[in-house]
Symmetry: C2
Subunit: 221 residues, 2 copies
């Protein structure tokens, strides 16, 4: 890149770090699955380690000529069998001693995948854990989870289900439960409706066969 140090020597000959991506895949279970909806994160068993409870986020090294997003896609495809997600960068973790096997920078990512696409991955090698119970992950992955949750909460402040976690069509109550799971606390019913309804499109249909007044159904605009 033409950077030179004070002696004028080109610096591209210096030793290079390994560059990895790590992805915090967040999701929310549907209401019928658990009455208390909350955020879950996808964990994989730590490679090469067979001790109990050694978990980490899915990740991989960046391959030559590859962009970071594609490395994320590859990691999720190979380890979890997920396709077509949309990772976003969070932060570069750069402590030179964060990995005791060498100099590894990790670019932390957030990804969001609907529960339905993750149900089948719950095996001995892969599991979904409520974020409140995630402690002691390998490396600095606890911090990545915290960054991912913070970012997702910011995204869900503004827009109705911007990441498409909910299956369409949905009721306003479905949407509210989802947003409550993401932001981690209850929301006032009427303010939520007034804020969200103008940003949705009503299908014209209503729920059928439910007790009480049937709710109108909506899709994302």
């Amino acid at each position: 890149m033409g950077y030179q140090d004070s002696a004028g020597k080109a610096l591209t000959d210096y030793p290079r770090p390994s560059v990895a991506v790590d992805v915090a895949v967040l999701t929310v279970p549907p209401e019928q699955h658990s009455p208390e909806q909350e955020l879950f994160v996808l964990l994989v068993r730590r490679a090469g380690k067979h001790q109990h409870d050694a978990w980490q986020l899915p990740g991989t090294f960046l391959h030559p000529g590859e962009i970071l997003a594609d490395a994320c896609h590859r990691a999720l495809r190979e380890k979890v069998g997920i396709e077509g997600s949309e990772p976003v960068q969070l932060h570069v973790l750069d402590d030179p001693h964060r990995d005791d096997r060498g100099w590894v920078l990790s670019v932390a990512h957030l990804d969001v995948v609907a529960w339905r696409r993750l149900e089948r991955v719950d095996t001995t090698e892969v599991r979904l854990a409520p974020i409140a119970e995630v402690r002691g992950l390998a490396f600095d992955h606890d911090r990545i989870v915290a960054l991912a949750v913070e970012r997702l909460r910011a995204e869900y402040q503004e827009t109705p289900d911007p990441r498409g976690l909910l299956e369409e069509p949905f009721t306003l109550l479905d949407l509210q439960r989802l947003h409550e799971a993401v932001v981690g606390h209850e929301l006032p019913k009427d303010s939520f409706r007034r804020g969200m309804e103008p940003r949705l499109r009503a299908t014209g249909e209503t729920q059928a066969g439910v007790v009480g007044k049937p709710a109108r159904l909506f899709v994302r605009e």
Copy 2:
């Protein structure tokens, strides 16, 4: 890090990218320097290129064992003579072809430095340019400037001069002019005062020798 591909081969042997940092140093001139205050960015002449108007952001390659913030500090010390700034990460630029001399990832950073500490650096090799006039920088540095401006504007929405661009003590009008320069548009006088004053500490002193009612002086809390 123990990542393995599907064949089980450890990946740390793959070719590694060079990792660089590039820093958008933003500042605002004091009022007496230019009536129209606006954001300026620090540019350095593109190394090894002698064509006219070949400018880029200061940057450097990451050295072994170094964290990104220290690489930023080193770049600014060696090229511009600045010490003690506080870079924050913005984004990783990862287009494999962004640098035609090799595979170079760049971690873009924002830094903010008071004008007073930058005045002396305006030489043939280094200059300060208003952000509105910055176009056609080397590599993807135009985009880094845009990201840096966006981040700085967000920081200045909340807090009075969080980056310490203003010399203390200052008047509320000084502070307002600064914030207007950062966010890029005028702000209502009375709302600005009401929002900011509770977050400042009055020194008890006032301006002396000015026409009109002398303004009270404040420092950051």
